[in-house]
Each structure stands twice: as structure tokens, then as C-alpha cells.
């Protein structure tokens, strides 16, 4: 295990009756990473998270958070972990302030520290004016915001979040995306389980993909895009397309093929490199008028779908 790894999961296997929910799941997350944990419904994401928090015991394998096993020594393993569950059920009889204060007590924070933190976190998640209202009166999105605040009460080293932005409006989603990025810049390690691939692509540095209880991929996000991309394509929009231009582009040695779609050229490349400069100068030589030029790399969604197919 690398010394910088804060969260280490090795060979987790979990059965629910005869159903194998997890099949030797292994990955490790280093300090400062934003790790996106992806997979279809029922792939085993939440089971992994529950085992990571010591809420479930694995049949095989183990979890190490800050060099302690949460199912054996929760006091040490979970002291610096913040957890925001999926669609959290919070204690409706508390107010937001009371619940934050209580969670602070569970981590043994001093009264003064708890008061400061409570105020600061309610501000951070945009619930400053709701702090003294009962959680029972909160909307779904507000409960979700409070849940993220709760995960931050102990100033955690590792934040584990299960679909943290579900139920939030687009503005709040953008706001929390920034928040997570800032937290990782502060050196916190963030583990996000999510279905929102666009979201993951924007904030995560690394991804893990799980399908039917097996890890299909785990590594840097650029690598997943690279691994599951077959080809890069340059999309060139022109004022008018001529036969001569298409054939001269086809003659370029880095071009695999050129397809014409109306006044657009889809130039398929042999290598995964950015050839936009070469393409635009060739078009210029052929006296074409270029309106736009885009390099189409693969999106995480494409990569994800391909990875799942490959894993089956």
C-alpha cells in the first residue's frame, strides 16, 4: 500500500444470500483525489460505501481508512471521515443547528468549536437563515445541503458522499461542484458515488467503475477516456465543401477517413493527437472558409458505456 493512500479497499466480497453483490473489489484513493465511483443501479456502489463505513461486514477482504479498519476500530477509522448518505433521513425533530451541534459532540468537539463550525457550515451550504428551523420543514434539496454540512463538521480528511447533488436545483449543483473542488484543493480526499457522468467528468480527478459487483476500471480520468476511446475526430464546419478539399484532406498522412455531413467534415484521425492546426492550414490552402473547428474527444459517458459493455 502506498503511503499516500488514505482509503484502501482490497478484495471486498459480499454475498446477500446467494447473490454476489461484490466480487473482490479493490481500489485505493490517495490524498487530494476526487474519486468518482460509477456504476449502474444495483452494481454494488452503496454496498461498497456501507462496508467502507463499517455499517456492513464484508464476507472477505478489508477496508483501511487512515490505516485503521472501520469494522474493527471505528473510533480511529471514522474520526476523520465525513459521510453524506444518499437521500438522507435526518432527525426531523432537531433544528439544523441542533443536529450540527449534536454531530460535533459525537466527534468530541468543544462547545466553542461546535458553535463556530455550526455557523460557518450553515453559511457555506446556504442555510444560514434556516439554522433555527426544524429539519422536518426543510425541502429535499435543503436536507441534502445540510447533509453535506454534517459531513464537514469534523473537518474530515476523507469525505464519502453518495449522490450528493441529487434533488438540488441547477444553481445549487454548480455551487456544490465548486465547493467540492475547493475542498479537494485544501487537501481533502473526496469519494463521490454518482450517476451524473457529466458532473463526475467536471470535478473528479480519478474514477472507479463497477459493474455487477466487479471493478471494471480504476484510475485517472484521462486514462479512462484514453482507454475507452477508439478514435479522435475533428469536426470542421465550412462555408461550402468541395470534392477537391475532401480528397486533399484524405491524402494527409494522419487522416484515416473523411466523412461529409452537409457542410461539415468529420475527419477521423489515425492517432489520438490534436491535429487541428494541420487541418486548418490544409483547408486554408484549398481556399476553404472555415466556420468552426472542434476536436471531438470521447465523453465520460461514452467511455462508461463502453467500459460496461467490455466488463460483461
Amino acid at each position: 500500500m502506498a503511503s499516500s493512500s488514505v482509503l484502501n479497499v482490497s478484495n471486498l466480497t459480499k454475498f446477500y444470500g446467494n447473490f454476489k453483490a461484490l466480487d473482490s473489489v479493490s481500489f485505493s484513493v490517495d490524498k487530494g483525489w476526487v474519486y468518482g465511483y460509477l456504476g449502474p443501479n444495483g452494481a454494488g456502489k452503496t454496498t461498497t460505501i456501507r462496508i467502507m463505513l463499517g455499517l456492513l461486514k464484508p464476507d472477505q477482504g478489508k477496508v483501511q481508512i487512515a490505516n485503521a479498519d472501520p469494522s474493527i476500530d471505528p473510533i480511529h477509522a471514522l474520526q476523520f471521515v465525513g459521510y453524506a448518505p444518499e437521500l438522507p433521513t435526518l432527525q426531523t425533530f432537531f433544528t439544523g443547528e441542533q443536529l450540527l451541534d449534536f454531530m460535533g459532540k459525537m466527534f468530541g468537539l468543544s462547545t466553542q468549536n461546535r458553535q463556530e463550525k455550526t455557523k460557518q457550515l450553515l453559511d457555506l451550504v446556504g442555510l444560514a437563515s434556516w439554522g433555527n428551523k426544524k429539519i422536518g420543514t426543510y425541502s429535499k434539496g435543503m436536507v441534502q445541503r445540510l447533509s453535506v454540512a454534517l459531513a464537514l463538521i469534523n473537518d474530515p480528511l476523507v469525505m464519502i458522499m453518495d449522490e450528493p447533488t441529487i434533488g438540488m436545483d441547477p444553481e445549487a449543483t454548480a455551487q456544490f461542484r465548486n465547493l467540492f473542488t475547493n475542498l479537494s484543493k485544501e487537501g481533502k480526499t473526496i469519494f463521490i458515488s454518482s450517476h451524473l457522468l457529466d458532473e463526475v467528468q467536471r470535478i473528479c480527478t480519478h474514477v472507479g467503475m463497477i459493474n455487477k459487483g466487479k471493478i471494471v476500471f480504476s484510475g485517472p480520468i484521462e486514462q479512462v477516456l484514453d482507454t475507452f476511446t477508439q478514435q479522435w475526430v475533428i469536426e470542421a464546419e465550412l462555408q461550402n465543401v468541395t470534392e477537391g478539399m475532401v480528397s486533399s484532406l484524405k491524402r494527409l498522412d494522419f487522416v484515416e477517413d473523411v466523412k461529409v455531413e452537409g457542410n461539415k467534415l468529420m475527419i477521423q484521425l489515425k492517432e489520438k493527437r490534436d491535429f487541428r492546426g494541420e487541418v486548418s492550414s490544409e483547408i486554408f490552402k484549398q481556399k476553404g472558409v472555415l466556420l468552426s473547428l472542434n476536436l471531438q474527444k470521447i465523453t465520460l459517458e461514452d467511455a462508461y458505456l463502453r467500459a460496461l459493455k467490455g466488463g460483461q
Binding site: P74, T89, L90, Q91, F102, M106, F107
Partner: protein, 119 residues
């Protein structure tokens, strides 16, 4: 924070949770009031009245006193169990949030049952 401190936090939490359930509070008050009513009635009427009906009941009147106390105890246990302390927390998922904090299962269990009995 030591184990006792952590249990104390859970005790505090469970106590507040029990108090937040107004139904349980109302049931407890009702049970106590009912028992008190029987006691008051007996004290007002006096055991002398009962002996009028013969059978030398006045010598056995202490049984009512004993059963009354025990009855109240049994009723309270029933109410609190029905109030469902821990099972409800598991069903609603609030237990997950507590158990994902640095606390052992034993400490949680201990804090929970403490409140059940002291209620």
C-alpha cells in the same frame, strides 16, 4: 473522548428523541394518571367501606397496592417498547448516520437501552 463520553452523547440524543415523540409522552401521562386515579379513589373511600361487604378483604387490601405499582411499571415498559427506540432508527436509516461516526456498536446499544430503562 472516552467510551463513557460517547455513551453519554447517545443517551442525550435518545432522550431528546423520546421527548420529541409527543405520543409517547401522552401515553405515559395517561398511564400514570389512570393508576393515580385508582389510588385516590381507594384513599377517599377508605378500606372500611370494603369490609362492609364481608370476606375479611381489608386484610388483603395491600395486594392492590402492590399490583398497582407493578401494573404501572409493566405499562411503561410496554409503551416504551412500542415507541420502538432502536428498530425505528434502523428502519428510517437514522441509525446509519450515527453508526458511521466514531462510535462502537456496543456504545450505541448501551446508550440506547439506558434511555429505554430510565424513561
Amino acid at each position: 473522548m472516552d467510551a463513557l463520553g460517547r455513551v453519554a452523547v447517545i443517551v442525550d440524543y435518545e432522550w431528546r428523541r423520546a421527548m420529541a415523540k409527543k405520543k409517547i409522552l401522552a401515553l405515559i401521562i395517561l398511564a400514570v394518571a389512570f393508576q393515580a386515579l385508582v389510588m385516590i379513589a381507594l384513599s377517599q373511600v377508605g378500606t372500611g367501606v370494603l369490609s362492609l361487604y364481608g370476606f375479611g378483604m381489608s386484610s388483603l387490601i395491600w395486594i392492590i397496592g402492590v399490583l398497582e405499582g407493578q401494573g404501572l411499571f409493566v405499562q411503561l415498559i410496554a409503551i416504551i417498547t412500542a415507541g420502538g427506540s432502536m428498530s425505528e432508527e434502523y428502519e428510517h436509516g437514522t441509525a446509519d448516520i450515527l453508526l458511521s461516526k466514531p462510535i462502537t456498536r456496543l456504545e450505541y446499544l448501551f446508550g440506547n437501552s439506558w434511555v429505554d430503562f430510565s424513561c
